[in-house]
């Protein structure tokens, strides 16, 4: 459970011709429309694009929270790529834009995750909880109701909760969107150290500075499609697609 040796086994992640539409509406225009890309183990991957591009939906599809209408998501395992299993999903974690914390104390929020992940030994639980509290700087708040923490503290708690079982992959959906610079820095530091420890990070962000600071490649989405994928510096400096040029240069180009 806690070893990250299997991590490398899951990559490359291949997404082929992925589509998603909900129910009968918008049949002609799926929300995710024939998306294909490959993500490798190394580095931190950013998913960027304008509002409504399908970034959050893509993250949920990758994590298995949504089932695609068509297309394939496959993870590398035992020499071949295969579809996501429950066991693979169990090695992944996700932090949402607005942290979802249980109506319990800070400590009990952490313990809940450990119990779900079958870590039942009291001593081991306490050790992991103490580590997590320290990493989040929440030692003094351990017994307080989690939902009474400040926004930044809540997001830090959500981060250490996601990381405490050393997932192979961590999905982050705009984790710093509503945080101040200090909290943003703290989250970014956690992201970097988790990445160094072997967890693959896939992060949705609107913050170009953040993409520059911590990510290695960008997958750019627009209107449910991937318009380009390139190393972060390259893509920000010389975006190829029209949508990405608009986005990074602030050009306002109206649809025809």
């Amino acid at each position: 459970m806690l070893n990250s040796a299997q991590v490398t086994n899951l990559f490359p992640l291949k997404v082929e011709n992925l589509s998603l539409n909900f129910g009968g509406r918008n049949k002609s225009q799926p929300l995710i429309n024939g998306m294909s890309f490959t993500i490798n183990q190394s580095g931190i991957t950013a998913i960027m694009g304008p509002n409504g591009a399908g970034k959050s939906l893509t993250l949920r599809l990758l994590h298995g929270l949504l089932i695609p209408t068509s297309g394939k998501i496959s993870w590398y395992q035992k020499g071949e790529n295969s579809e996501q299993t429950k066991a693979m999903q169990n090695q992944q974690a996700m932090v949402f834009q607005k942290p979802v914390l249980l109506r319990r104390s800070v400590t009990e929020n952490l313990r809940y995750t450990l119990r779900v992940k079958n870590i039942t030994d009291k001593n081991e639980q306490q050790k992991l909880i103490d580590e997590a509290l320290e990493k989040a700087g929440l030692e003094d708040q351990a017994k307080n109701p989690a939902r009474r923490l400040s926004g930044g503290e809540q997001q830090k708690l959500a981060m250490v909760r996601a990381l405490m079982t050393r997932p192979a992959i961590l999905f982050l959906d705009e984790p710093t969107a509503s945080l101040d610079p200090n909290a943003t820095k703290a989250i970014e530091d956690m992201v970097l150290s988790a990445s160094e420890a072997g967890t693959k990070i896939i992060i949705v962000t609107h913050d170009i500075g953040q993409a520059n600071r911590i990510t290695d490649e960008i997958i750019f989405l627009n209107k449910g499609q991937m318009t380009e994928q390139a190393p972060t510096k390259t893509l920000i400096e010389a975006p190829q697609s029209k949508a990405a040029r608009q986005y990074f240069r602030g050009e306002i180009v109206l649809d025809d």
Partner: protein, 235 residues
């Protein structure tokens, strides 16, 4: 006028001296209603939690039926339970008619839908907030139901108290199936009805005062629990 003044004075006298009849009636009331609320909670909380997390065909109909059952007229429930338990009814051989057990059965039928429907409503709101996070952690549906029951604990205590208050004030159904037999199935509400019609206002008033006090306590608890829940941001 002085009759009424006498009745009030006597009522307090009965309460203060812990009159045997009065105490017996209060104790039986509490026994019947606490047992009924216990059974209703066992069924209603589980059912409500499962309905909050499971999506299945016929769910909407189930929810509508549950709401409809919440508003069942007590006397009709009394009548139906009576027919089942009467000598010629399907469960007549059990000999339960006019026993406290019959009253518990009627109360359970009245209260369970209320507990189940309010539980479902309360927990579904939390479920909408939690479901992606819990799914991401790998929690199954049953685990989610258990998590919701715990995380909704403050609101659910309120729900239980509402059910208990409803049971305490119920009269129609228990009157029919219990028969209001002195020393056997006479509880506060049925005794008030009977004693009033007999003109024995003292005992009726004494019981009425106790019912009102209980109702105040129940509502006070609801209020205090809501305040606590808000303070912890657990509401």
């Amino acid at each position: 006028m002085s009759d009424i003044t006498d009745a009030i004075v006597n009522a307090f006298y009965l309460i203060i001296t812990a009159d045997r009849d009065l105490v017996e009636i209060v104790i039986l009331s509490l026994q019947v209603n606490l047992l009924a609320i216990f059974i209703s909670c066992a069924i209603g909380l589980s059912l409500g939690a499962l309905l909050a997390v499971y999506r299945f065909r016929g769910r909407t109909i189930t929810l509508i039926a549950l709401s409809a059952l919440m508003g069942l007229p007590p006397v009709v429930v009394g009548l139906i339970v009576y027919m089942f338990l009467s000598n010629s009814g399907p469960l007549g051989v059990l000999g339960l008619l006019y026993t406290p057990t019959a009253m518990v059965i009627a109360q359970v039928i009245l209260i369970t839908p209320i507990i189940a429907a309010l539980t479902r409503q309360t927990l579904e709101a939390i479920y909408e907030e939690y479901k992606e996070q819990l799914k991401s952690l790998g929690v199954g549906k049953l685990g989610m139901a258990a998590t919701l029951l715990w995380d909704g604990r403050y609101q659910l205590i309120t729900v239980i108290l509402v059910g208990f208050g409803r049971a305490l004030s119920e009269v129609g159904a228990v009157m029919i199936v219990g028969g209001n037999i002195n020393h056997v199935t006479r509880i506060m509400t049925t005794a008030i009805a009977l004693e009033t019609s007999k003109g024995n206002l003292s005992l009726a008033l004494g019981l009425g005062i106790i019912l009102i006090i209980l109702s105040f306590i129940v509502n006070g608890l609801v209020h205090a629990i809501n305040l606590t829940a808000e303070r912890y941001a657990y509401a």
